[in-house]
Amino acid sequence: MVLRIRLARFGKKHSPFYNIVVAHARTARNSRPLEVLGTYDPIPKPPRPGDTHGRPWKDIKLDLDRARYWVGVGAQPSDTAWRLLSMVGILEPQYRVSQIQGKVVKADSAAKSIIPPTATPAATPSNA
């Protein structure tokens, strides 16, 4: 069976909190996993008093070695888990903002090329 690295939602209503878990793909979301790799608190915390830049922050706890191991043996991260793992360099980022923008532009230009130019000359696609 496929192993997945995914999030399991805990916490109360309106205060989500996630365990980052390794589990079989077909088991229920909150069932007992093979291993709890860490946690992810999606609620941004206010900047710390000593923080000069004063940026809000989100807390992630993760066992990096175990995460690397599970990815190495073929566990498939979900999109969200991929995003978290890519932050620490375990995986290549799945989506990049520039990549998505490029795709949008491509689709845009493709759509325009289908429509035959009638009154105005075809607009040149802007390069992103």
Partner: protein
């Protein structure tokens, strides 16, 4: 009709008048409450005595004494203020008479508009004489007996609180832009314990913030309470020493030292206080280091060894500098370690702070409370009795 006595007059009139002269302020002696079912219609002897006391010797305690505490221990059994001397009593009497005169004048001026000038002039005169009167009306300072709220318990004394000026002075000394005083230094200088200095700093800081925000402060309330309490005054004279508020170098009783221990020690062995600390607990510091101000002991030792003042000062300064250096180094090292353990990934709206943990921390059965993540198969106990949700520390 009973004599109408203004509340401000009441306390003043008490000190002067001997309570033997019967004064009857009729207190409403309620026989029974409206809702009461019991038939306690008759006035008992105790109740009568109680109202007798309330109208006689006890009346002085109804209103606070201006500029002084007003405890039961300061009065004799006839309701006379024990420490009031003749000068004070005569001053009181004069003031009362003057006030009565003013009352009459005020009532007259209400009827006759011509006399307003007269009353104004009189008020001016009164303002001039104010200083003299204040001097006359000043009570001698309280003795220990005067600070007893419960005369039966002679060991209970009302303890002084920090006066408003002293608290302001402590805060100003600690935030001084040129040479700010550290917390232990302020504690030694003002004779106030470390904890209290910390509390004063935090509360003053908050007060300033509130003032800056334009919040309303309960100043009249503070004033009223402070007027009723004994205070440690602030000595603004730089050449004089501040009045110590409390003993600052008391040894805090550590829970590990509460047990009684019998440790047999060979006579040949040197058993110091360090060993005594270790006998209680291996991690327990000796008493010399657990006291709030170990540096004061060092200074005393230097004095005993016959060093000159300049030499002592030099050594104390050196010790302080090394201590500060060690502390900052330690803090910086801790900060560095924390930074190394955390990975910060800045994103558009917030940073992701990633902390490396170990999955082993849940233990073999996966139930250790130190483990990472939300527990499986364990109830969340946040609604259980005795769960403390109030933050126990302030991050500042």
């Amino acid at each position: 009709m009973p004599p109408c006595i203004r509340p401000s007059n009441v306390s003043s009139s008490i000190a002067s008048c001997s309570s033997i002269r019967p004064r009857s302020i009729p207190q409403p002696a309620r026989a029974a409450r409206d809702f009461s079912q019991s038939s306690s219609r008759q006035i008992t002897k105790r109740r009568r005595q109680f109202y007798q006391w309330l109208n006689g010797p006890g009346r002085a305690l109804k209103e606070p004494l201006p500029g002084s505490t007003n405890y039961l221990g300061a009065y004799d059994r006839f309701g006379n203020l024990i420490r009031a001397d003749n000068r004070y009593l005569t001053g009181r009497k004069k003031k009362e008479e003057a006030e009565e005169g003013e009352d009459e004048a005020a009532s007259k001026s209400g009827q006759e508009a011509d006399e307003t000038d007269m009353t104004e002039r009189r008020l001016d005169e009164a303002a001039e004489n104010e200083d003299k009167k204040q001097e006359e009306l000043k009570l001698p300072p309280e003795s220990k007996e005067d600070l007893r709220p419960f005369p039966g318990n002679k060991y209970f004394q009302s303890q002084p609180v920090l006066s408003e000026d002293l608290r302001e002075a402590i805060y100003q000394a600690m935030v001084d832009p040129v040479s700010p005083m550290s917390l232990p230094a302020a504690s030694v200088h003002f004779g106030v314990s470390n904890e209290r200095i910390g509390a004063v700093y935090r509360l003053k800081h908050m007060e300033k913030e509130w003032i800056a925000k334009g919040k309303t402060l309960a100043i009249p309330y503070r004033q009223a309470v402070m007027d009723m309490l004994p205070k440690t005054p602030y000595v603004s004279d730089k050449n004089k020493r501040p009045i110590p508020h409390e003993p600052i170098n008391d040894l805090i009783v550590h829970p590990a030292t509460r047990q009684q221990l019998f440790v047999p020690v060979a006579e040949s062995r040197v058993f110091t206080r360090v060993d005594a600390g270790k006998a209680f607990d291996n991690n327990l510091l000796p008493a010399d280091e657990r006291i709030p101000h170990p540096e004061m002991v060092q200074v005393e030792r230097d004095t005993l060894s016959g060093m000159s003042a300049a030499e002592r000062f030099e050594r104390a300064k050196e010790r302080l500098l090394t201590q500060i250096k060690e502390k900052t180094e330690k803090e910086e090292a801790a900060k560095e370690a924390e930074k190394a353990a955390l990975t910060r990934v800045p994103r558009r709206r917030w940073d992701f702070v990633i902390q490396n943990v170990s999955v082993e921390s849940v233990g073999k059965n996966g139930r250790d409370h130190r483990g990472v993540g939300w527990r499986y198969g364990l109830p969340h106990e946040d609604r259980k009795k005795g769960q403390v949700k109030i933050p126990t520390s302030v991050e500042a």
